[in-house]
């Protein structure tokens, strides 16, 4: 047989193709089939979670929402519903974290913003929406901005090239390239998934103590309550050097902190 394998021996071997071109195609088909096969499980967890939430079993709903999110693609809707279930089960910290995640995925999600403000009030922390980047993200859809910028940028570059060719310099080439570059930069800078990647959410009910130096018995700068958000600047073992909501900086331990953008 010299390495050739009967296709009947095992369905797995269906993808053991000698032709590399077709093997890639078959791998892609297999991936799609696997995704299709797995999707009812996601759907079941999500449906179950919604059912539990509607019946008032919020603890179980939270568990099912979280299990769904571990395997499925993230969704602002599901994070919002998870936050809602956490809010109803008297877990405002978990609710605030998930409302934040919903807002990161969809900065135009006004309902999530309103609920986050309410939850933050319950936690006694301020809602930090004063940043201009957050303001831009909450008003304009960033992906269309990015795509428009990319199209204009390339269009300008192609006009520039054809300008060389035809010796007819046009106003458009440099103008389009500049406008495109600005739009791309704007979408890049304002995307919460970029500028909030270093945010850490304080989940610990005891809050988080901030120190002057990365030593536990050093002078304490302040203590942040549960629900506060800090921005990590650098990390040293268990210690994180970061910026506090007021702009001050200090060291704090990573225990009890949760990345606002999940790291999985």
């Amino acid at each position: 047989m010299n390495g050739s394998v009967s296709l009947r021996s095992s369905p797995v071997l269906l993808f053991n193709m000698q032709n590399r071109t077709t093997s890639s195609l078959r791998s892609a088909i297999a991936t799609v089939l696997l995704l299709v096969a797995a999707s009812p499980a996601w759907s079941d967890d999500l449906s179950d979670a919604r059912l539990r939430a509607s019946n008032g079993d919020h603890a179980e709903a939270i568990r099912l929402f979280e299990r769904h999110l571990q395997t499925a693609r993230p969704s602002a809707s599901v994070y919002y519903e998870l936050g809602g279930a956490a809010k109803k089960s008297s877990n405002p910290a978990l609710a605030a974290l998930n409302f934040r995640r919903a807002l990161i995925l969809d900065p135009l999600f006004d309902l999530a913003r309103k609920d986050l403000v309410e939850t933050n009030l319950a936690l006694g922390v301020s809602s930090d929406f004063t940043d201009w980047k957050t303001g831009v993200a909450s008003k304009v859809p960033l992906n269309p901005i990015l795509l428009t910028g990319v199209v204009l940028f390339w269009l300008g570059l192609f006009i520039l090239v054809t300008g060389f060719h035809s010796r007819t310099r046009r106003f458009w080439d440099v103008g389009l390239i500049s406008i495109g570059a600005v739009l791309i930069a704007l979408a890049w800078v304002c995307d919460p998934r970029v500028n909030l990647i270093r945010q850490r959410f304080i989940m610990s009910p005891q809050g988080c103590e901030v120190f002057n130096t990365p030593v536990e018995n050093s002078e304490k700068v302040t203590k942040l309550p549960q629900g506060s958000v800090v921005t990590a600047i650098s990390e040293r073992g268990r210690w994180i050097y970061g910026q506090l909501p007021g702009g001050a900086r200090g060291w704090f331990l990573s225990e009890g902190l949760e990345s606002v953008i999940p790291t999985k």
Partner: protein, 586 residues
């Protein structure tokens, strides 16, 4: 003289102690529960008194209570003197039920003391022993011989059990009421081959054992055997610090003997740390009977009842119907599974939620609630039925509790008020759970990835592809521009001239002048007439060029076509053309 002072001093202490001690009367039952016809003892203790009046009988409907004994105790702990009177009543239950023995009035001197009311539970038939009932006197046997100051005992509700069955147990530590001291929080208890519930403390009580009054500290637990065979429950010990009788200082006893008396018991005590142990007990553990064992036996062992309800009675398409099942009784609630749904075709069911509400501290009795959520896949007019199977350890047989289906009106169909972001249609044979109208509306929109668009592979590949095309276009444009430059054009002309001159050397004589004229035109860029004006040429060279033009005209316009060049003329013309190339390039 010295002895008399000591005696006077002792007398003063006794008198002062008698004054300072508060008189009180307490009442306690030897057992808080019994059965009809099984007597228990009611002990009334009057502290710090040598004489008291108590009623001979106590009137309680359903109970016959009569006084049958009286005892006096005189105790002396170091310098603390205690005297007490004990009155023992016989309590014979006549009927089953819950009884409250009212406060008993005790007249001491001119005062009237009242005991606290006591509660007695009387059951019909054999007396329950555990977990609610402490053992009777016959169960508890302190070591034979003289009165024991303390001892421990382990009481099990049964000596034979099934694997997985919960056996209520009580650890009891008896302390003679004459001694005082402190006991530890809880005993150390555990062993191999069984699991035990957390020990729970039973309120301290008094109990008469072999005519002696004991204070009993009890701890209840539930023991669950995990393997069959003989299971030994090992001894458990409770630490205590007791004030035990001690010896008087040297010569002290002589003082009493001089007056013809003996030293009162308990006058001198020593503090001693002791460890009170129960005796090991062996129980026989048997495996679950195979005969009649259902395939889907849930593991419940005990005695149970089942009640159920369904809500709502009318369900719209996609609306869930909840069946609530209450399983109550006594048994291993922690290990039992849910009841089984029978005839559930046409329904989609979800794993039930469970909640247990114990009525005792060891989780032996109580009610477990299961809630099944069902959604009709087809139009249905009744819910599935219910079946719960358990092993009754009293009979050793499997029992089944069933509940008929509930009448409901559940419509089939799916309601999707708002499409879910991840909702994927599935075949109708396996309908997925549908959202009820009460569910929160899903938000549509937003990203489906934590990775920004510009970091995603698709975006990067598309842009890379566009960049590649742009790069190709750029290179093409630059190459084209380069090839059209003056330099490249000059190079092309020079190449053409070189080829033309090379052709002159080999061409026919008749065609020589025509080719040479074309070559010259190429060198000067079109008009061969202009060749004479190229600077740097000598007159002779200009003359050669002029002759060349004449020969060409002659060939062209005369009737003698194709004027032939001599070899000398060819050589001269070729040399001059080479010179013209050089001069023109300058």
């Amino acid at each position: 003289m010295k002895k008399r002072v000591v005696i006077l001093w002792m007398g003063f202490l006794l008198a002062a102690s008698a004054i300072l001690q508060a008189q009180e009367a307490t009442a306690g039952l030897s057992s808080p529960s019994t059965s009809v016809g099984q007597p228990v003892e009611l002990v009334v203790t009057v502290r710090d008194s040598r004489n008291a009046e108590v009623p001979q009988t106590i009137d309680v409907a359903g109970l016959r209570i009569e006084l049958f004994g009286r005892a006096t105790r005189f105790e002396m702990n170091n310098v603390k003197v205690t005297s007490s009177l004990t009155y023992t009543y016989s309590v014979v239950p006549l009927n089953a039920g819950e009884f409250t023995i009212p406060p008993i009035e005790v007249k001491v001197d001119k005062k009237t003391l009242k005991t606290a009311p006591a509660r007695l539970s009387v059951m019909a038939g054999a007396p329950p022993r555990l977990p609610n009932a402490p053992s009777t006197r016959a169960d508890v046997q302190p070591p034979a011989g003289q009165v024991t100051p303390y001892f421990g005992d382990l009481l099990l509700s049964k000596k034979k059990a099934y694997v997985g069955e919960v056996v209520p147990a009580e650890l009891r530590y008896y302390f003679n009421s004459r001694i005082s001291g402190e006991v530890g929080d809880r005993p150390n208890f555990g062993g191999e081959g069984f699991t035990a519930q957390k020990l729970t403390h039973v309120p301290k009580r008094e109990q008469i054992v072999n005519g002696e009054n004991y204070v009993v500290f009890g701890f209840q637990t539930g023991i669950t055997p995990v393997k069959f065979g003989a299971l030994e429950i090992p001894a458990s010990s409770l630490e205590a610090r007791l004030q035990v009788p001690g010896s008087p200082p040297p010569g002290f006893a002589d003082i009493f003997q001089q007056f013809g008396g003996a030293l009162p018991p308990g006058m001198f005590t020593n503090s001693r740390d002791v460890s009170i142990e129960t005796k090991p007990v062996t129980i026989e553990v048997v495996s679950l009977p195979k005969e009649g064992k259902p395939e889907n036996f849930s593991g419940a062992i005990g005695k149970f009842n089942m009640e159920a309800s369904a809500n709502p009675k009318k369900a719209e398409p996609g609306e869930p119907v909840t069946i609530k099942v209450l399983v109550s009784g006594q048994g291993n609630f922690d290990a039992m599974g849910a009841p089984e749904l029978t005839a559930d075709e046409g329904w989609r069911s979800y794993p039930p939620t469970e909640k247990f509400d114990p009525t005792d501290a060891i989780h032996f009795s109580g009610t477990k609630t299961f809630e099944f959520v069902l959604i009709a896949k087809q139009e249905r007019y009744q819910t599935p039925g219910l079946k719960f199977t358990y092993l009754d350890p009293a009979t050793g047989k499997y029992e089944s509790l069933t509940h008929p289906p509930f009448v409901v009106e559940a419509k089939a169909g799916e309601v999707m008020p708002t499409p879910s972001p991840v909702a994927i249609p599935v075949p109708s044979e396996t309908p997925k759970p549908v959202m009820s109208p009460m569910m929160p509306l899903s938000h549509v929109g937003g990203e489906s990835s934590w990775m920004p668009l510009f970091k995603r592979p698709v975006f990067l590949w598309i842009n890379l592809y566009v960049a590649f095309i742009w790069g190709v276009a750029l290179i093409y444009t630059l190459v084209k521009k380069f090839t059209r430059s003056k330099y490249m054009r000059a190079r092309a002309e020079a190449s053409r001239v070189r080829i033309a001159i090379a052709e002159l050397a080999t061409c026919e004589d008749a065609a020589f002048y025509e080719l040479a004229s074309g070559c010259l035109a190429s060198i000067v860029g079109g008009d061969a007439e202009m060749a004479g004006q190229i600077p740097g040429l000598t007159d002779a060279e200009k003359e050669v060029l002029r002759v060349l033009q004449e020969r060409v005209a002659e060939s062209k316009y005369s009737s003698k076509a194709g004027v032939k060049a001599t070899s000398d003329e060819r050589e001269r013309v070729t040399q001059v053309l080479a010179r013209v190339v050089i001069q023109y390039a300058k």
